[in-house]
Amino acid sequence: MKKRAVAFLLGTVAALSVAGPAVAMDKVVKIGVLNDQSGLYADLAGTGSVLAAQMAVEDSGLTKKGWKIDIVSGDHQNKPDIGVNIARQWIDVDKVDVLADVPTSSVALAINNLAKEKNVVLLDSGAGTSDLTNKQCSPNTIHWTYDTYMLAHGTGTALTKSGGKTWFFLTADYAFGAALERDTTAAIKAASGKVVGGVKHPLNTSDFSSFLLQAQASKANVIGLANAGGDTVNAIKQASEFGIVSGGQKLAGLLMFISDIHALGLQAAKGLNLTSTFYWNLNDGTRAFSKRFQERIKTHAVPTMVQAGVYSSLMHYFKALDKLGGNPHDGAKVVAEMKSMPVIDPLFGKGKIEPNGRNIHDAYLFEVKSPAESKGAWDYYKLVATIPGDEAFTPLDKSTCSLLKK
């Protein structure tokens, strides 16, 4: 009996030593979707991004090939400390391999450092700051959907060229607002416009009247809203009360999501220009995805570009894992593999991932339809111009990313 026990023990030890290398490369993946699920960015990311991740897992076909893929999700409440705590626990305790979405630039920059330190993957869809692929770039991060450079060179350039020569900024007082104002200012100057002033407001402001009065008094042609989500919605809604647009000034929502337009209503939003890399009614691929998404989300909303980006970035991640033949649990290695593969995607079209982690695809300049032009629910945008990916995002020779050997 004793002999058998010893043999059994030996067998176990042998099995463990054989299984050793296989632990490094297995078919288990854990995804952490980290975003705002209760605050002003919850509609543009939130549980919709979790659903998008779920759909990516189902569509990847990996589970049929024997992969085990789990999703966890968390609410970072737009606070970097909370976000980092959740992510740290996910990585250390739950063995999460990839963090997806992460809107709110201040949180994203903190998670960007953590992902590098812990060698996991960050697929950022929700955050805007272009610093993620410039001075803060990381071999573990891919910035998927949009960034402040792209927004500046879409809406900013277009409005300046069409006569908006002087600008006044209403800027959300955190990393994203600062980056967006900086990049837009550069774009305005490049198009020979001028910034005449600006005011910084706290994140999540409900009353913009004081700031709007200052913008009105500046007599600038364009009032640039370097904020997002609920802040932009409130600013636009209240601007119409103070007669800003009827007084001859133009409003520029530099970052607007379809959820914002829906909240504003077309009457208040008509005629606004905005830049986006995704719109549900762009082609068959986007329509098919959006229809499936709408059927499954409680609010029956169409996906925002952030949610579409979560789906698309995870699909590409799964393709890279499939090609590697297993999960090496080595973030930098998977990201390198993702960069080496062309991105082919029904939602964002053909793209590529630059060495600095920037995913390049086309961007679109849209104008919001008037209530009369809209043919039905969510029929909100008309296409004004397509900005090719190479022009929309920071050119590599201008990127300050240290990963680029010059």
Partner: protein, 291 residues
């Protein structure tokens, strides 16, 4: 920064507008705290329900803003009275902390439910036709609706103050708070009076919600964002003081407006800095009496 008089007067007026909301909400809180001894953390959620009520009255029943102004406070007030009858009344005589925890929990449940069904960005609600547009005052463009909010809430505040401080009903109410047993001995139904008072306080919150619907988005979190500031207003004004909370409400709106002009980055903290300073000097608040 160069200070121009027109710009300054404009900011003062804008401050007054925000102050009206603070005043209406803190008034309701003061009434409830003064009479029921409950720190009503559900106030923000009930304010939000008022706005949603206006939205549904318009979109489901075609009843416009003016109907909502009367119906929403009544409906939410009734909801409040049901809350009082079923939940809050069990807390009579217990420590403040219990009331705070219960109402905070209620607020979280209500907000969670609304957020689950309506998302966080909110729903649009248009300004009524009669109050659209604005007048140019020379130093600023004043939207008529905002002017209306200031005047209307001032009137409501004064009526409430009169009701509680100057009428017989108010006298009963104040007596019932001091000594419920004695007032009951005179044949007055104290529990019913307390329920009505809670309904009144809640109705005031809902009224503020309807007033704010055309200005802000009708959002599940609209109350949560505001309630903390309003609590600071009540603390500064002195817990339970009716006139104190009205005056502090307007005053703090103005101070906040000025901060937005001189140093906008601090505009969402200035109220709390003031609160700390005042509590250091006068722990009972500006008009509060030591108990």
């Amino acid at each position: 920064m160069s200070i121009s008089l027109p710009a300054l007067s404009a900011q003062l007026l804008v401050g007054l507008i925000n102050g009206s909301f603070y005043a209406l909400l803190s008034l309701g809180l003061a009434v409830i705290f003064g009479m029921l001894n409950i720190i009503n953390f559900a106030h923000g959620a009930l304010y939000m329900m008022g706005a949603f009520c206006a939205y549904f009255l318009l979109n489901a029943f075609g009843l416009n803003y003016w109907f909502a102004l009367i119906l929403a406070p009544v409906m939410v007030g009734i909801f409040g009275m049901v809350l009082e009858r079923t939940l809050l009344k069990w807390l009579t005589g217990l420590d403040h902390l219990y009331g705070l925890l219960l109402t905070f929990g209620i607020a979280l449940i209500i907000q969670g439910l609304f957020q689950n069904y309506f998302g966080s960005s909110g729903l649009p609600y248009a300004i009524p036709d009669q109050l659209r547009g604005g007048v140019n005052l020379g130093f600023m463009f004043l939207p008529i609706y905002r002017g209306w909010v200031v005047v209307f809430s001032l009137v409501i505040c004064l009526i409430t103050w009169y009701l509680i401080e100057r009428t017989q009903f108010g006298a009963y109410l104040r007596a019932a708070t001091e000594n419920p047993a004695l007032v009951r001995a005179f044949g007055i139904n104290v529990p019913r009076m307390i329920t009505l008072t809670y309904g009144l306080g809640v109705g005031l919150a809902a009224l503020a919600g309807v007033l704010s619907a055309p200005i802000n988005q009708v959002r599940p979190l609209m109350g949560a964002d505001l309630i903390i500031v309003v609590f600071a207003v009540v603390v500064i004004g002195g817990m339970g003081s009716i006139m104190g909370s009205i005056i502090t409400g307007f005053a703090l709106g103005i101070i906040e407006g000025l901060t937005k002009y001189f140093y906008p980055e601090a505009s969402n903290t200035v109220v709390f800095v003031l609160m700390v300073l005042i509590l250091l000097v006068k722990p009972t608040g500006l008009t509060g009496r030591a108990t």
